[in-house]
Each structure stands twice: as structure tokens, then as C-alpha cells.
């Protein structure tokens, strides 16, 4: 879960990492007032949960009053990769002598925490890492190991810091690392870490992502107003609806509605449809052991999607049982009704019971099942995928 720059910066401050004396504002009026009070020139930074805001025009240096009056409303009207700008940070303009990159993240390959530093900060850091890997320093540590001052000194010297600046760097590096460990972070980055013309190190930007799965032990973040949120990207109305219902869902540009069980086959089923010449309309994950009600809602999302021509269902019951699956489908059929052809297969845990539920309901009301073809273990999933592609082509 990504934090806003101003939230990350507040945490930086608590860990004694020097930050600009900026202020967050929530409206154009407040922005103008604060900028005038603090005095120009100022840097106005849009607060959005995505990268690339600089390129998108979300950061403006304002030198004069007329500029200020012009820039503020423009920033508040911006939408960056689908994120509307609702807050600005009003920062001092730093007199920059050098820029560095300093970050901490997780090296999953080697199961380590890794501190990364580069003497050339800014947006080109990834390019530098590719073309001149020797310019990047990586220090790997176990998750329960501290970063000592002497580790920080080693990094600082790699950044060609010396004297007082090297001493300033020590608590920045150890503070950033301690912050990372304290809050179960996945990423903390200072890019750029600025050395000002008068010799002060200051974290000019602050980026931080924490592990959603560890939020239960960080009540203080919740108290700061940092609540569960999407990592990044614009959401379609349907994606927003799905999120409200707690269903991981992504719109794609095809016409086959994917109703899979589990994220694994969710991803693979998408490939299968492509292999057989079709295109899925969505990606969806039921989560482990979904309730019948939740399954019914997943079907509602697909049935009401005008791009969907046919629904492709697949369930291999593990922790999610086939009887619950059948019940969910039945709730959908009875309460909402199916307006499109659906082809599906289910097998695995409690599949006989699922089958029994379907057969009984069909006997009672054959109309409900008029648009459904259902299969069990006897039919390979590849065949079902091909059938879905064929049906979608027929509808056209």
C-alpha cells in the first residue's frame, strides 16, 4: 500500500530524516494563502499515489505572484493516471548542489532487505542501474539485523560524501532503514536526496509502500489516516464497484467474461482464451473459499458488463467447495437472471454435491439453466475454453 508523499514525509520526520519545511494544503484558496505566507519562490507538488507526476505537470516551481495565481487552479484540475489532485505540498525551493538516490526494499530472490544508493539521483536511476551497475551500491541485510552507523558510513563514502556531510548522512541512512523495518515496509525511497548549496542534506522527495498484510500491527498508521487503498492506477466504474464488494477485478478489452476459481487459473485462463483466438473482457479472483453470495456478485459484474458476450466459468474446488460454487450460481440465476450464454466446468472438493444441487434445481426449473452448459472432470478445461471462444464468435 502506497503512502502519499506528505504521509511518508511525516514518518521521515519522526525518524529524524531532514525534510523540507513544507505544508500540505487541501484547496486552491488554502494553497494561495500558505504560499504567500511562506513567501515565493515555492515548489508546488501534487499529492497523488502514482509515479511520473513530474512529467504529467504535477510539480511546478512558482517564482512570482501571477504565476502562483495561474498555477494553483491548474494543479487542482489535474488528473494524473486517473488520480485527481486533491492536495498539494507547498515546499521551499531548494538550492541544489548534488542529488543522490537512497532506497530500501526487499530482495525476494535472496530473502534479504537491501539498501540501495547511487550518487546520481533523479528519474534516470533505473537507466543508470542498467547501463552502469557499478554506480549502484547495494547492501544486503537480514530482516532482523540493524543497519549500523559504520554501514551508513560505507554507503556515504560510496556517495563521495565526506566531513560534516558524511556525518549528516549517517542518521539519514539508519533512520530510513529503521523506518522500513518498523513499519513492515516494502519500499522506502528518497529520490532525490539533495545536498543543498549551503551543505545540508535533505530528503526532497519521500516515497513509501507498506505491506498491507502487516497493517494489523501498525495502528498508529491508521490513526494518522493512512488506510487500506489501491496501490496505483485509474479505476473503471466496474472496477470501483468490484472493489466496494471486495472482489479483485480488472477490466480488459475483450468479450469473454471470465469467472474463474483462484488467481492461478485466472491468469492462465486468460492465456488459454488468447491461444484459442478469443479475448477476455476481464480478470477476476474469487479469493480463497468465497461465499455463495460473493460468487453471485461476481456473476452480476459480468452479466451487466455490456462488453461481455459469453461467460466462461471454471472451478476446481479446493478450499472453495463446489457445493458453495453451485449455490452461488443458483442465487445469481434466481435473483438476477442470466442474460448471456455461459459455459462452465467444475470439479474437485464436493463436486458431487454441487452437481446434485444443479440437477435438482434444473429439474425444478429448467428455464434457469437454458443458457448454461455445465461440465465436470470428464471434459478438459481446454475444450471448455475453446467452446467459450466459439460461442463468443457466434454471438457477434
Amino acid at each position: 500500500m502506497r503512502l502519499y508523499e506528505y504521509e511518508a514525509r511525516e514518518l521521515f520526520g519522526r525518524f529524524k530524516i531532514p525534510i523540507p519545511e513544507g505544508q500540505v494544503v487541501n484547496s486552491p484558496e488554502e494553497a494561495a494563502k500558505v504560499a504567500r505566507e511562506l513567501g515565493l519562490p515555492r515548489v508546488l507538488k501534487s499529492q497523488v499515489l502514482t509515479g511520473g507526476r513530474g512529467k504529467a505537470g504535477g510539480i511546478k516551481i512558482v517564482e512570482t505572484e501571477p504565476e502562483l495565481a495561474e498555477v494553483i487552479p491548474k494543479l487542482f484540475d489535474l488528473e494524473i493516471k486517473g488520480f485527481p489532485v486533491e492536495k498539494l505540498l507547498i515546499d521551499p525551493k531548494l538550492d541544489i548542489a548534488r542529488e543522490f538516490y537512497l532506497g530500501v526494499t526487499i530482495d525476494r530472490l535472496n530473502y534479504k532487505l537491501v539498501v540501495i544508493a547511487c550518487a546520481e539521483g533523479g528519474v534516470e536511476i533505473e537507466e543508470t542501474a542498467r547501463t552502469n551497475p557499478e554506480k549502484i551500491m547495494k547492501v544486503s541485510l537480514d530482516v532482523d539485523e540493524p543497519l549500523y552507523s559504520f554501514d551508513a558510513i560505507r554507503i556515504g563514502k560510496f556517495l563521495r560524501l565526506a566531513g560534516d556531510q558524511l556525518k549528516q548522512f549517517i542518521p539519514i541512512a539508519t533512520g530510513l532503514y529503521n523506518l522500513f523495518r518498523k513499519y513492515d515496509a516494502k519500499l522506502v525511497e528518497i529520490n532525490p536526496l539533495v545536498l543543498t548549496a549551503d551543505g545540508k542534506l535533505i530528503a526532497a522527495d519521500a516515497r513509501m509502500s507498506v505491506d498491507d498484510d502487516a497493517m494489523f500491527r501498525h495502528r498508529d498508521l491508521t490513526e494518522m489516516g493512512i488506510v487500506q487503498r489501491h496501490e496505483e492506477g485509474e479505476m473503471t466504474p466496474r472496477e470501483r464497484q468490484a472493489t466496494e464488494w471486495g472482489i479483485p477485478y480488472l477490466d480488459l478489452d475483450g468479450d469473454i467474461g471470465m469467472f474463474p476459481g483462484g488467481a492461478g487459473f485466472g491468469i492462465m485462463g486468460n492465456d488459454f482464451i488468447h491461444y484459442y483466438g478469443g479475448k477476455p473482457a476481464n480478470f477476476m479472483d474469487s479469493g480463497g473459499g468465497p461465499s455463495p453470495e460473493r460468487l453471485a456478485k461476481m456473476l452480476v459484474l459480468l452479466d451487466e458488463n455490456p462488453n461481455v458476450k459469453v461467460i466462461f466459468g471454471a472451478r476446481f474446488g479446493g478450499i472453495s467447495r463446489c457445493d458453495d460454487f453451485a449455490k452461488g450460481v443458483l442465487i445469481f440465476l434466481k435473483e438476477h437472471g442470466l442474460s448471456k450464454p455461459m459455459v462452465m466446468r467444475f470439479t474437485g472438493n464436493m463436486w458431487e454435491e454441487g452437481l446434485r444441487i444443479f440437477k435438482e434445481a434444473e429439474q425444478e426449473n429448467p428455464q434457469l439453466f437454458a443458457r448454461i452448459e455445465y461440465h465436470g472432470i470428464e471434459t478438459p478445461i481446454e475444450e471448455i475454453s475453446q467452446r467459450a471462444v466459439a460461442l463468443a464468435k457466434k454471438v457477434k
Binding site: T105, A129, K138, V143, D212, A263, G264, D271, G288, F316
Partner: protein
């Protein structure tokens, strides 16, 4: 033969008195899994499905000779439960719960390495050695004893692969679910090496997917293996995942895409399957 579990494994269930724990204990026992006991602090002395409950893993090892553990506990308790099992002398730990905090899993991994213990998961469906033992939440319908090993990050794909291998007559030695969490107790290469050492396993099917770096880690192992490896990677047509900051790109480079995974694994000698039905075709060609 099999890897990691068989009928002689003495299995303990951590969290046996909970809803999921007791439900799946019954299922696992019904399959014939040799569950000897379970733990639930404060409930020592009770029984679940006729098996004794203890307050600690230490007692399970001492009193019942447990050597294998399946964890059914809320995610926040997994770190200590896994470390408890590791330190008590358990040699194989299956972490079924999902959403284990990443920092916790890093620590569990460190302890596991120190004590030479294999941990799979979190968020794994489990592991099954058909006809011998079924640990976790795997439905047994698709599995039959045979000669192909499987290893996958996804539960559902494990079932589909086994279904295919079973219906095409190959059957399975052991099927391992690595788990779906971002940081895992074991990696593909580690499980592949165990299959390589298993005489009964004539080929291995490895199923990966977009994201993460554990598929790429397997390339050197596959290159050195005598047992043939079939690889299937999901997400060839998926929208590319987002990188986490610059740091993510610096640490993981180009790893994580389906292309990157397929490229390095095919270069290492793995045979690519696009669909499940490709698998028996490849096995036949390989003369397995």
C-alpha cells in the same frame, strides 16, 4: 518413492482446534494421511478427530514423534508457529494461510535455513503424495500415484495439471504447492532438486506465473538436472505488473514478466507447455 511427505510422515496440525484446522484434519485423515496430533495453546489434553491436542509442538515431537507440520492459523500467528515448529525439530512445514506479512516470512525463511527445514507457503493449497499423504486443502479427486512430479505457485493449477497427468495415465509422485504469497518459504529450484533426487519421479512439471522472481531462480538448477522439466508460465497475455519504485527495478531487473521467465527456463533446457494438454504430448515425446 516421493518427496517431502509419504505414508510414514508423522504429521501434526498447528491450529487443529480451529474451524479450518479441524475441517481439514478430518479430510486429510480420510485420505489416509498419518496425522498423529495437533496443537492449540491452552487446549492441551483435548482431542480432535480422535487425535490428541497439545499446547506446544515440542510435546508433539516428544510424545508423538511428529516430524511434519501443517499450519492452519490466522496469518498473524504464522511467524511464531513456523519458528516454533522449526526449533522443535520438525523437518517440513506447510503454511496454508495467506497474507503472511512479508517481514515475517523473511524471518521464517532465515530460521528454516539455519535449521535445515523445508517450509512451503504461505498461501499454499499444500502438498500431496497420491495414495500416501495429503497435507493442506487439496481436493484429492484429480490425483493418482504415478511417475511425474509437479510444482506450482497456484492451487488451482496444481489440480488442473494433476487432472491432466492422471487422465493421460502418467499419474503423480508428489505435487507441491509453493504458495501464492509474494515471499515464499521455498523456491522452485529447491523443490526441483528434491525431485531430481527422487528415483520414482521421471519428469517434473513446473507451473509458474507472471510476477515474482522464483521462476528465474530455477534456471541453473534446471540446466544441471537429468530429470526433464516441463514448464508452463501463466500471464503471457496479462497486462504487465507495476514495478515497485525504482528500487524494485534495480533489485529485480527484467525478472517477473512471463517472457523473461520462459526465456531463461527454455534456455536452461525446460520444455514449454502452453496448455495442460501439451503436457502428455511432451511426456510422450520424451519417452517418460
Amino acid at each position: 518413492m516421493a518427496i517431502l511427505v509419504d505414508k510414514n510422515s508423522r504429521v501434526l496440525v498447528q491450529g487443529i482446534t480451529g474451524g479450518a484446522g479441524s475441517f481439514h484434519t478430518k479430510r486429510m485423515l480420510a485420505y489416509g494421511t498419518n496425522i498423529v496430533c495437533g496443537t492449540s495453546p491452552g487446549k492441551g489434553g483435548q482431542t480432535v478427530e480422535g487425535k490428541p491436542v497439545y499446547d506446544s509442538v515440542e510435546e508433539c515431537v516428544k510424545e508423538q514423534g511428529a516430524d511434519t507440520s501443517v499450519i492452519f492459523l490466522p496469518a498473524r500467528f504464522v511467524k511464531e508457529a513456523a519458528i516454533e515448529a522449526i526449533r522443535a525439530g520438525i523437518k517440513f512445514v506447510v503454511v496454508v494461510p495467506e497474507h503472511i506479512p512479508i517481514h515475517d516470512m523473511l524471518l521464517v525463511r532465515k530460521e528454516a535455513m539455519k535449521y535445515d527445514v523445508t517450509v512451503i507457503g504461505g498461501n499454499t493449497a499444500g502438498i500431496i503424495t497420491p495414495g500416501e499423504a495429503n497435507l493442506g486443502i487439496i481436493p484429492d479427486i484429480a490425483f493418482k500415484p504415478g511417475r511425474v512430479g509437479t510444482v506450482s505457485r497456484s492451487g488451482s493449477l496444481t489440480y488442473y495439471v494433476a487432472d491432466t497427468l492422471t487422465s493421460s495415465g502418467y499419474g503423480e509422485t508428489t505435487c507441491v504447492g509453493l504458495g501464492g504469497d509474494p515471499v515464499l518459504g521455498s523456491t522452485f529450484d529447491e523443490i526441483l532438486l528434491k525431485f531430481e533426487d527422487d528415483d520414482a519421479t521421471k519428469a517434473v512439471v513446473m507451473v509458474g506465473e507472471i510476477g515474482g522472481v522464483y521462476e528465474e531462480r530455477a534456471k541453473d538448477t534446471i540446466a544441471r538436472m537429468k530429470t526433464p522439466v516441463i514448464v508452463m508460465i501463466g500471464g503471457v497475455f496479462a497486462p504487465p505488473g507495476k514495478r515497485m519504485g525504482h528500487a524494485g527495478a534495480i533489485v529485480e531487473g527484467s525478472m517477473g514478466t512471463a517472457e523473461s521467465k520462459l526465456k531463461v527456463l527454455e534456455e536452461a533446457g525446460a520444455h514449454r507447455a502452453r496448455t495442460f494438454l501439451d503436457m502428455p504430448r511432451i511426456l510422450e515425446k520424451l519417452g517418460v
